[in-house]
Symmetry: C2
């Protein structure tokens, strides 16, 4: 691979969940990231509170300090990642980084929702970038979708499940019939809720994210103080049950909508028809619906929090900045996502080597021993049966349907077995074979 | 608004579904697009087959011609939108546009899947951009998500419902118990399938799109000839029914996956567990799952075809190119999506003015006349009841739950009515009120 240019050097403010995750992803995927960005991206310096605790992350490539100003003022650093959280001193450090000509990447939604206007004005003046994909929807590239993917549209409204803690609690309340307090306790035990869950369960975190989406959707300043905010603490198991009986699910939604008299900006629980895709977004997952006048409704779904999903967005921002600093403008984003000189030559796998499970349906004479023959052939081919579900007996032609699901095997195994099964006199020609994909991640 | 720079001039090759939709969106949303792009974007010249038929689109701003070379060679045009479809002469015209230094935007998946490598090499050499968001997933910004939003990840697999025609047919087969032939006929009558549906129902269209996604996900050349392609023509109503009984749905999936021995690249029907979000993507809608090692699974959903959804992606590409041509690199994408000097001052709507439907739950004494009083108060406030669903009689305290859904009203109306209802002696304090959002688009 060709990476003649010197690496982009990143300074981290904080090595907690977000900062630590960012470091992990930058290190693990260094080659893939360089193939995309056209240049290596290395975290070279990190400010931490506790040097001893942060020792797990130390390495030859990374210097630790307890003084964040050392990172912000380091002339060798190109981009500062603010991963401390909280408004102060994060704001002051970001402004200092901007003043010293550094680009900034942050996951700090409270900061952007409350101080975005000042931060962006400073960045504009200095000619640097401030990127904040990780501030909304964790790993979901929703900022990019709204700001770049849907630019053709007059955006009409956005509605999102943008807080994983509350969605986990509401899912528990529905699935387990728990009340709010019990579901919260479980969420805390499992690490989905913090010891002090106020910001999440009262809707403040969602309102920060909604404020940011509203600003970029409608081209208005950040107006967090004007948001209407209700949480989920008053919801009861009864309401969740009644809603279910009515054909609805209760979700904490952030909604912003353009109306002739003004912009709606509100976070509150809402009943959603159960058949809507977003009503089926469960557990700690996030999803955002965006309605544009040309595209109609689009939906974006993924993990809204966690070390690596958040790092996914932080690092995507780092790649955006790097591409901007590295390429001539016209080839900023390579046509094929990776730099042309770094395309890989992986072969396409022949279909016979592909492994999936299978749905098989065959019509068989309704007589003893047929099923034994079929299962013997499958066993000989090394294919095991997960379930055999349906035989419709007594059809007009005296035949029955045998329907089964197999465990995973290679396509050539099933092809071989099916040619033997189809040669059985008791089996009608043309066994139906459909692949099964669990898509479980 | 400030748009001192001269407009970006766009030439359209074709004014059919995609070209016509692009023109419509560019005209209707001209102001919003200019606020985002920092510059007006105008279609000034279009090549069409039939001048008379295209007359509906004519205007002072737009010159029509029957000779596409006039568009490609027009020195006043900055970007050529190829919206003719087919491989020839689209390929030759795109190469000619590139040779004359024009940027190109195309929705042509067959062209990119088959000739992308040659086209991008030519563009690279000339220093122009070739953008193709509309080639995959219609209005869903999936190319941008993979190429820019998920750059932190080693992408593991992509699985998508990327052909609306076949998804419409499969949805009909499940919901209506139709066989393939009947469902296809209906799709043709409703305009979801073409007179010759071969490319769609045989999986070729999906394979073009999958080839493109595979290339940008894994950094490999376009390899359409190596794709394994099966369509849905052999599926029967029986299989759809059996799959349902087993807890699965049948979808036509495009799947590409990285394995140690090579890249899987395959289009075929598949059983998917019914509880997966993507199994519930119905009708002509598209959805794409992307699994990255850091972010986990993300999903992108929206309209996969149609004039304006496709135009949404074409115009987003035009804005991308315009931003690149217009701004200095560091402010290519404005922090707040819109140009800083063009932020709007729409007020945030007070919550009392927001209109939604409501779920109401109140505990009432189980006695005659209470319900009449409640409904009278709601009627007085101009609030009509959509349904009243549940009364659990005979509770220990001699009270019943009254649960109802209202039609839409302003929040101040419901607040006023609830304060009156809560003052009724027969109603316990604390009526539960949860907003209902239908999110129907």
């Amino acid at each position: 691979m060709k990476h003649a240019m010197k690496p982009i050097r990143v300074g981290l403010l904080g090595l907690g969940t977000v900062g630590g995750g960012t470091l992990t992803v930058l290190r693990r995927n260094a080659a893939e990231i360089a193939r995309r960005a056209g240049r290596e991206i290395c975290a070279t310096r990190a400010a931490v509170r506790d040097l001893q605790k942060a020792g797990v992350h130390a390495g030859d490539d990374l210097t630790l300090t307890t003084d964040p100003h050392e990172v912000v003022n380091d002339p060798t650093i190109d981009i500062v990642v603010e991963a401390m959280g909280g408004e102060h001193p994060a704001l002051e450090l970001i402004l200092a980084a901007i003043a010293s000509g550094k680009h900034v990447v942050t996951a700090n939604k409270a900061l952007i929702a409350n101080h975005g206007t000042a931060i962006f004005a400073a960045a504009q003046k200095q000619g640097v970038m401030v990127a904040f994909e990780a501030a909304v929807g964790g790993g979901i590239p929703i900022i990019k979708a709204i700001r770049e993917g849907l630019t053709a549209n007059r955006i009409e409204w956005i509605a999102g499940i943008i807080n994983g803690t509350t969605n986990f609690i509401l899912t528990q309340m529905r699935d387990k019939g728990q009340d709010f307090a019990d579901a919260l306790k479980l969420a805390q035990e499992l690490g989905y809720a913090e010891a002090d869950p106020t910001f999440d369960v009262e809707g403040v975190d969602a309102a920060h994210k909604l404020t940011i989406m509203s600003a970029i959707a409608f081209g208005i300043p950040m107006q967090f103080p004007a948001a209407h905010i209700e949480g989920i603490t008053h919801l009861t198991g009864e309401d969740v049950r009644y809603a279910g009986q009515l054909g609805y699910r209760i979700k904490l939604l952030g909604i912003t909508r353009r109306t002739p008299s003004g912009i709606e900006l509100r976070v509150h629980p809402a009943l959603i028809p159960a058949r809507r895709l977003i009503a089926n977004v469960d557990g700690s997952m996030n999803a955002i619906l965006v309605k544009g006048d040309a595209v109609g409704v689009t939906l974006y779904y993924g993990a809204g929090a966690g070390a690596e999903p958040t790092a996914s967005s932080v690092v995507a921002d780092l790649v955006d900045v790097t591409r901007m600093l590295t390429s001539d403008p016209h080839s900023r984003v390579p046509h094929l996502a990776f730099q042309p000189e770094n395309l890989a030559q992986d072969p396409i796998l022949p279909m016979g080597e592909v492994r999936t499970s299978y749905y098989l349906r065959m019509r068989a004479r309704d007589e003893a021993g047929v099923l034994a023959e079929v299962t013997r052939i499958l066993a000989d081919a090394g294919i095991s049966i997960e379930s055999m579900v349906q035989q419709e007996p007594g059809q007009a032609d005296g035949k029955v349907d045998i329907v089964m699901l197999t465990h995973q095997c290679a396509e050539k195994q099933i092809n071989h077995a099916l040619s033997r099964i189809e040669s059985l006199p008791a089996i009608a020609a043309g066994v139906m074979r459909i692949r099964v994909e669990h898509l479980a991640g």
